[in-house]
């Protein structure tokens, strides 16, 4: 069917898009020399992309089930297998890059501490960065809690209006 073809194609394109996004992020991870916060940021992005990729592959699998012809269903299923394998190899690549860059950051920090005369200044800077990060984390948490509460209030308002 023409319409499902379009959907299949779009889904495939999105899968490819997320797959390449992940590969690019893994490349960034490999080159990451920066502070640990940058590593955490990159990891969060990769996790998000993986999540999206998993959902898209599930959608693709469902599209396979929805095909009229058995032959097409088999074809799409084998493509799903292929996408899943790609995803697994991406996952292994991500783990390797993650580990490697964490080890290199640790090593650099250790060297800096052993040889750095201005380490005190750097440490103060890092503490300031750490403090800034903690403050922004706390603010984010507070914001999410207040959002949750606002949603609650709205829902109860709606309930009230529908009852009243």
């Amino acid at each position: 069917m023409a319409s499902s073809d379009v959907h299949v194609r779009i889904c495939e394109q999105e899968i490819l898009k997320y797959d390449l996004e992940i590969k690019a992020l893994i490349q960034d991870l490999n080159e990451c020399q920066g502070p640990e916060s940058k590593l955490t940021e990159l990891n969060a992005d990769v996790k998000k992309s993986f999540h999206n990729l998993r959902l898209r592959i599930q959608d693709f699998e469902q599209m396979a089930m929805e095909q009229d012809k058995e032959s097409e269903k088999q074809a799409l299923n084998s493509q799903v297998e292929g996408h899943r394998k790609q995803m697994l190899s991406n996952q292994t690549g991500w783990r390797k890059a993650n580990l490697a860059s964490k080890l290199s950051i640790d090593k650099m920090e250790k060297q800096a501490l052993l040889y750095g005369a201005d380490s005190a200044v750097r440490e103060r800077k890092m503490t300031k960065e750490g403090l800034a990060q903690t403050t922004s984390d706390i603010t984010e948490n507070l914001m999410s809690i207040s959002r949750m509460m606002a949603q609650q209030v709205q829902q109860s308002e709606e309930t009230m209006t529908s009852l009243g």
């Binding site: 499902s4 959907h7 590593l39 990891n43 996790k47 599930q58 469902q62 599209m63 089930m65 929805e66 095909q67 009229d68 012809k69 058995e70 032959s71 697994l88 996952q91 292994t92 991500w94 783990r95 390797k96 993650n98 580990l99 964490k102 080890l103 920090e109 250790k110 501490l113 052993l114 005369a117 380490s119 005190a120 440490e123 103060r124 890092m126 503490t127 750490g130 949750m148 949603q151 609650q152 829902q155």
Partner: protein
């Protein structure tokens, strides 16, 4: 043309004779076979060159043979001989060899002569050598005596110099002299002159002590003036004190002098430690930890530490109220406060002086190190006494972790220097910690599983926030694991961390077993809320453990486990699995995930089984409806759902909605697809295959399915009918127009007979039956099934 052929024949026979022996010897003689190969190549090239592909050039074979014969004879001359004479070349070689051996003998004779003369000479010279030896020996001894005395004189000079300098208060020179004494001492380290060494050491010690005491008292006076130690946070005085300038300069002087004294001080203190001569003034009750391998603190800081250390021992040792095992936070916080309070003073006044004198140490780090050694002693002794009290032990561990975090974080204590955590790695303490963690965790697990709201999700009312619909107990459990991770994350030893990881894996397994137990209790009503909550819990834990497998902290542990070959982690795993762990394809949680998946599969299966049981009961009356006798409907638009289908539809609709609400999203996907598959089978068996259908009956069935059942599932997918392929295609076949049905039946019958006769059905040029079926939209059912279905139609012409 006879001649060329015979010549060729001769050449061939020659070649054969040449090659044959070579071939005969070619067993295992690679070089020879190579030779035969090259020989063949040579011959081939030769033939090509001379003859090529031009048959006419065979005329030249005669010339060729002549030429070869000549060459052959020349060679023969060189090698073959008459019986009498020796071939010239060989004889030349022989004579050359003879000449060489003659000259060698000659040389040997000459050599013998020369060496004899040499020996003679040496023998003659021997007595003179002996005499010379003795004299030189005497000279050496005298030289050494002179050195000794000179050394002694040097020491006395230095000693006098120090005395002079001290009397004239030129401390710098005194220190320099003491320094050179220390250098001399270090130089004499390997010497066997114990008396000299002893004398030097005593002298050094004597002068060093005098200078150090003088500097120490002066320094302490200055410190008191500067309000050291800062046991309360320093008050910023904006008005400079009257003699501020003088104090600063004196401070600078004293600190730099003390720094200059460092070498000799280190030497003396190390020697003291090594021989255990010095007993610390106030002995703590428990055995002190072994002397640190770390370099000793720099001298000014050592002196600055004295008042703090005195206060520490006063408050936290002995029979004071402040010295309690149950309140480790008192001394830990106290030390942190001291560090915090001293920060400004050290950074602004002491560090610049250190920098100016070229010392590469950081005053803050040194102070921390000094205070840490006090704390380490105390913690070590306390920990060993708390091994029998769980609650207090826990408290100590928590406080130590907290202290470490603050030390590294707020005070930027470098990660390469040991803090307190290595104390917790000591065997007995680590074991106790693990035991207590496990005990606490198990208690918490008991509590969380038996609490009121264990199986409800706390985000129940916030529907869009919660994809996983995790019940409270699962969330609490994962939080518990997370908290344990935070505790052992900063331990400096991977094998200790791996022990904690092992504990966490045990806990997950334990929780899984508990979940299985609760599930068995609920297994009689898998459609209930609690069963679904358990299923959600399993899914939730699987998801989070899957995430942890990607977490860099656990990846580091994974690598450490593989490289250390940890039995606790790798025991029981095959080579393949260890390889997967090493290449980061697998994760440490795979085993647990597999078990959880199996549980999930079991539970899902049971859930679907029970749901289908309910639904199947309701399908029966639908299957027993009067499909055969239904009149054909005049009008499509007035068709309604068969009343016998209503209970079944109601059941399916309600179940689907229920599952959608209680199950997490991914589980629900699994559930409705599983349900659809089973329902498809049941309907096909109980309704379609068990009945015959009139035209009206077929139409009604089609309506019921396509306009009622499939749209129920259309909520969750675009082509719900493709999840019911058997029913869908059966409907198509049952609702075929009579003409198409007859044609199809005939086509299928013919092709099946062809096949039965074993002939190639396609040979007749007919299209295969599958393409006919495909045209009608039937892809899943096989031709034999289709025939059966067609025979269920009741509306054949002539009936």
């Amino acid at each position: 043309m006879a001649a060329p052929t015979t010549t060729v024949q001769t050449m061939n026979s020659l070649t054969d004779t040449l090659l044959k022996p070579i071939y005969a010897n070619s067993q295992g003689m690679d070089s020879v076979s190579a030779d035969s190969g090259t020989l063949q190549d040579y011959l081939l090239n030769f033939m090509e060159k001379e003859v090529g592909s031009d048959l006419k050039s065979l005329k030249n074979v005669g010339h060729l043979l002549e030429k070869l014969r000549e060459e052959n004879s020349v060679l023969e001359e060189q090698v073959l001989t008459d019986a009498s004479s020796v071939p010239p070349k060989v004889s030349a070689a022989l004579s050359a060899a003879e000449e060489a051996s003659c000259s060698v003998e000659d040389l040997l004779q000459r050599e013998a002569l020369v060496s004899k003369r040499l020996q003679q000479h040496l023998q003659d010279a021997q007595p003179w050598m002996d005499k010379l030896d003795q004299t030189l020996h005497k000279v050496n001894t005298i030289e050494r005596h002179v050195k000794y005395l000179r050394c002694l004189q040097h020491i006395e000079e230095l000693s006098a110099a120090v005395q002079q300098c001290l009397m004239t208060s030129s401390v710098w020179e005194a220190i320099r002299a003491v320094d050179s004494m220390a250098a001399l001492d270090a130089g004499l380290n390997q010497s066997g002159c114990s008396n000299l060494q002893g004398f030097l050491q005593e002298t050094l010690h004597f002068w060093h002590k005098i200078i150090k005491d003088r500097l120490t008292t002066d320094f302490e006076k200055i410190l008191i003036q500067l309000h050291w130690p800062f046991i309360a946070p320093p008050i910023q005085t904006l008005t400079p004190t009257a003699n501020g300038q003088e104090i600063s300069s004196q401070l600078e002087l004293l600190v730099s002098q003390l720094l200059a004294l460092q070498n000799s001080d280190d030497l003396i203190s190390q020697r003291a430690l090594a021989s255990c001569q010095v007993v610390p003034a106030i002995q703590p009750a428990s055995p002190a930890p072994p002397p640190s391998q770390a370099p000793p603190l720099c001298l000014p800081i050592q002196i600055m530490l004295l008042p703090l250390s005195k206060r520490f021992r006063y408050h936290f040792y002995g029979n004071r109220q402040t010295n309690t095992l149950s309140k480790p936070e008192w001394y830990l916080t106290q030390v942190l406060m001291w560090i915090g309070n001293s920060k400004t003073f050290l950074e602004e006044r002491i560090q610049p002086i250190l920098d100016r004198s070229g010392a590469t140490t950081s005053a803050m780090v040194e102070l921390c190190r000094g205070l840490l050694s006090l704390v380490q002693e105390k913690v070590a002794s306390d920990a060993s006494r708390l091994l029998y009290d769980d609650a207090l032990f826990c408290h100590l561990v928590e406080e130590v972790l907290q202290f470490e975090k603050e030390l590294r974080g707020n005070h930027s204590f470098p990660a390469v220097l040991p803090g307190l955590l290595h104390l917790l790695l000591e065997d007995a303490i680590l074991q106790k910690w693990l035991t207590v963690e496990k005990k606490m965790a198990v208690e918490k697990m008991d509590a969380m599983l038996s609490s009121e709201g264990a199986w409800s999700s706390q985000y129940k009312d916030i529907s869009d926030m919660d994809e996983l619909k995790a019940p409270d107990c699962a969330e609490t459990f994962m939080t518990l694991l997370q908290v344990i991770t935070e505790r052992y994350r900063s331990l400096p030893c991977p094998s200790a961390q791996l022990k904690f990881l092992g504990l966490q894996r045990e806990l997950v397994d334990d929780f899984r077993i508990r979940l299985t137990q609760v599930m068995k209790e609920e297994s009689r009503c898998p459609l209930g809320a609690r069963y679904c909550a358990i299923l959600n819990a399993v899914n939730y834990i699987s998801t989070i453990l899957g995430d942890w497998g990607d977490n860099v902290f656990f990846l580091q542990l994974q690598q450490a486990a593989v490289s250390l070959g940890e039995e606790g982690v790798l025991g029981g795993l095959g080579v393949m699995e260890v390889g997967r762990l090493a290449s980061l394809e697998g994760s440490l949680f795979e085993g647990l995930l597999a078990l959880l998946d199996r549980l999930k599969g079991d539970m899902m299966g049971r859930l679907l089984e029970w749901t289908m049981r309910e639904i199947t009961e309701k399908v029966r009356p639908y299957g027993q409806d009067r499909w055969l006798s239904l009149p054909p409907q005049q009008d499509q638009s007035t068709m309604t759902l068969s009343s016998s289908a209503c209970p079944m539809m109601l059941c399916v609709r309600d179940r689907l909605l229920n599952l959608h609400q209680v199950l997490s999203f991914s589980l629900f996907q699994m559930a409705w697809q599983g349900l659809a598959e089973r329902l498809d089978n049941v309907l096909y068996q109980e309704v379609v295959l068990s009945n015959h259908f009139s035209e009206g009956g077929a139409a009604q069935l089609q309506f019921d399915m396509t306009r009622n059942l499939f749209p129920l599932f259309g909520h969750y997918c675009k082509r719900p009918e493709n999840f019911f392929k058997h029913v869908k295609e059966a409907c198509i076949l049952l609702s075929l127009s009579v003409g198409s049905a007859i044609l199809l039946r005939n086509l299928l019958k013919d092709s099946m007979e062809e096949e039965a006769r074993g002939g190639a059905a396609a040979a007749a040029g007919d299209p295969p039956p599958e393409s006919a079926l495909n045209e009608l939209g039937v892809y899943c059912l096989a031709p034999c099934d289709v025939l059966i279905l067609l025979n269920l139609r009741a509306s054949w012409p002539g009936q």
